[in-house]
């Protein structure tokens, strides 16, 4: 499962790396310089970053090297999805309309990581405005999966996932609206965490679907996700939707004794190939071996989750993306300056990519007069029913366990001309998003797939507010499965 590599420090997770920096065992400047150099050299290979700012990162590393106060992420290099604002860095959302846009302030989630000593080395590639499941809708070319460069890393947090899987950084921020962190985690062999909706401030996040968007970390260990959550969670006067409810304190579990895990029949049945089924069943057995009681249950609305999610998300997106008009920021279409209306339409038409236009038209239609009741309102009512299904599940179990994706990483281009088949990648993540629940994405065993070895993943879903319970269970499962030290072949790639 694990592979030896001469770059031993590249194996370290953020927690250990910060410890070594704090103790003086390792130089912050050396780490940041090495990460920047590796990221620059491997950029042509994986296209993980949209903007790398090594000068800025090294200047900060020199400051931290001699700092009297040493935080929990002291000197840890991180990468940030390009829909989160990092002051001075280009945060284009992978859109032609925002190319060159440098954020004038920093998102709260990023600022809190920086306050603990994290060093942002760059902003990462993504599906344009977080609309995609493969990373292919980026206006700046797709990101490649470090496990198999012919395959997609998943999306929309494609670059953040590739940066962690490629051992460019140990920790990265993505966002999860309908699965955009959990799905790339599964396809890139990573740990990912979607918090309860409202747990982490979204100030400084470019909104896609506001009732679903969550800032979410990707890492190579569950303890790093827990640390990042602990640092980022908490009320923010700049985001009224951010809850003041405190995280539950907890220590890592030794086992799962006394816990009941529900396995939804519909989630298990969604797995389309034998090896993926076997990997998930190994995870269920691991839960049992760790002392959990497994119960089977049913979430019948799973089959409608993708439709429900896409109707609601696109309506919200059509509204949120109305702000992009090429007037106050972004790129204005030069040829159409005869009138305000013509300029706005030309800027949007030239600036948005095909998938973004598709979703904006879909959302505008679903909310337009004469159609809103049949599409948008109906979907919102189905969302209520989806939430009720989860509420009922909590009377039978402490947490749900299911696969994260129906299949392993797809080949680049395999589904890019078929939107519906791409949306199907989100079949198992969207129900959780609709209900606003926390979910920890963990690594299950590698599978043989189309002639190669690929990662698979499972998700532990818990009730609202029980974020840490999901992480603790996922940590035990990875330990039981032996996937906690899973390293991608990229760990051996010399920069």
């Amino acid at each position: 499962m694990t592979r030896p590599t001469p770059n031993t420090w590249l194996h370290l997770d953020a927690t250990q790396l910060a410890h070594e920096h704090r103790s003086g065992a390792r130089s912050v400047v050396d780490t940041i310089a090495a990460c920047c150099a590796r990221s620059q050299r491997l950029q042509p290979r994986w296209n993980a970053f949209l903007a790398l700012d090594c000068e800025r990162a090294l200047a900060r590393a020199h400051t931290l090297e001699h700092a009297a106060t040493r935080g929990r992420l002291h000197g840890v290099p991180i990468a940030v999805k390009a829909n989160l604002a990092v002051e001075g860095l280009e945060s284009s959302c992978a859109s032609r309309l925002l190319v060159g846009w440098r954020a004038p302030y920093t998102a709260t989630a990023v600022a809190r990581l920086e306050a603990e000593g994290a060093v942002v080395i760059g902003t990462t590639n993504m599906d344009e405005y977080a609309m995609g499941s493969s990373g292919e809708s980026s206006a700046f070319g797709p990101t490649r999966n470090p496990w198999d460069e012919a395959r997609a890393p998943g999306g929309s947090s494609s670059g953040s996932a590739a940066a962690v899987a490629g051992h460019l950084v140990p920790l990265a921020l993505g966002t999860d609206t309908g699965g955009s962190v959990r799905q790339p985690a599964a396809w890139c062999g990573l740990a990912g965490f979607k918090p309860t909706w409202g747990r982490i401030s979204r100030y400084g996040l470019v909104a896609y679907a506001s009732s679903l968007d969550c800032v979410a970390p990707l890492a190579r260990s569950m303890r790093d996700l827990d640390l990042a959550l602990d640092i980022m969670a908490g009320p923010d006067a700049r985001d009224a939707t951010c809850s003041p409810t405190a995280l539950h304190e907890s220590v890592p579990f030794k086992d799962l004794q006394g816990l009941v895990l529900g396995v939804p029949h519909e989630w298990r049945a969604a797995l389309t190939d034998g090896p993926s089924r076997a990997a998930f069943e190994a995870c269920v057995e691991a839960a049992r071996a760790a002392g959990a009681r497994i119960v089977e249950l049913s979430l019948p609305l799973t089959r409608h989750a993708v439709s429900c999610y896409y109707l609601l998300a696109t309506v919200e997106a059509a509204s949120n993306l109305a702000r992009f008009d090429g007037l106050r920021y972004g790129v204005r279409a030069a040829a159409h300056s005869s009138s305000l209306a013509a300029s706005i339409a030309a800027s949007r038409t030239q600036g948005f990519g095909a998938e973004v236009k598709r979703r904006i038209v879909l959302g505008t239609y679903a909310l337009s007069a004469g159609h809103a009741e049949a599409w948008h309102t109906h979907a919102a009512k189905v969302r209520t029913l989806v939430c009720r299904e989860f509420d009922e599940a909590w009377s039978a179990c402490d947490a749900l366990l299911g696969p994260t994706t129906p299949f392993p990483a797809i080949r680049l281009g395999e589904r890019s001309n078929d939107p519906l088949s791409l949306y199907a990648c989100d079949a198992l993540t969207t129900p959780v998003s609709l209900a606003g629940l926390p979910a920890a994405a963990l690594r299950t065993p590698l599978v043989e797939h189309e002639g190669g070895q690929l990662p698979t993943g499972a998700q532990v879903v818990t009730p609202h507010g029980a974020d840490r319970l999901a992480l603790r269970i996922a940590e035990v499962l990875e330990t039981q499965l032996g996937t906690q030290a899973l390293l991608s072949p990229a760990a051996e790639v010399q920069a």
């Binding site: 004038p104 009732s211 939707t241 300029s343 706005i344 236009k357 038209v361 209520t384 519906l420």
Partner: protein
């Protein structure tokens, strides 16, 4: 799917117009066709009975963690520097105090 839920291409083209997308004829045909196919697939959702069910539009307070209990005090706070924001604009007035935009009144619709 009932007739009232059927997807008409002219309605989709109108939606594109409402969304301020200025699609060329060929692009409109392709895009609206794709959206129509997606909606026809999503129409299976209509079979889910929802009589008497309240819609869920947000997680605030009902689905998820309780929101911040109070609005913050209505006090003046420092904003980002004007120059930093105007510096991001495609066009500003020469004195850099205002955004410069195309004619809003009397131009082409």
């Amino acid at each position: 799917m009932t007739d009232s839920h059927s997807v008409r291409i002219p309605d989709l083209r109108n939606a594109a117009h409402l969304a301020r997308l200025d699609l060329a004829e060929e692009e409109a045909v392709v895009l609206c066709g794709e959206v129509a196919r997606i909606l026809e697939h999503f129409a299976a959702l209509q079979a889910v009975p929802v009589a008497g069910v309240e819609p869920c539009y947000t997680a605030v307070g009902t689905r998820g963690l309780p929101p911040a209990p109070d609005l913050r005090e209505d006090n003046a706070q420092a904003s980002l520097p004007r120059a930093a924001l105007l510096g991001l604009a495609p066009q500003t007035q020469p004195d850099d105090e205002f955004y410069r935009v195309p004619k809003a009144i009397g131009g082409a619709p």
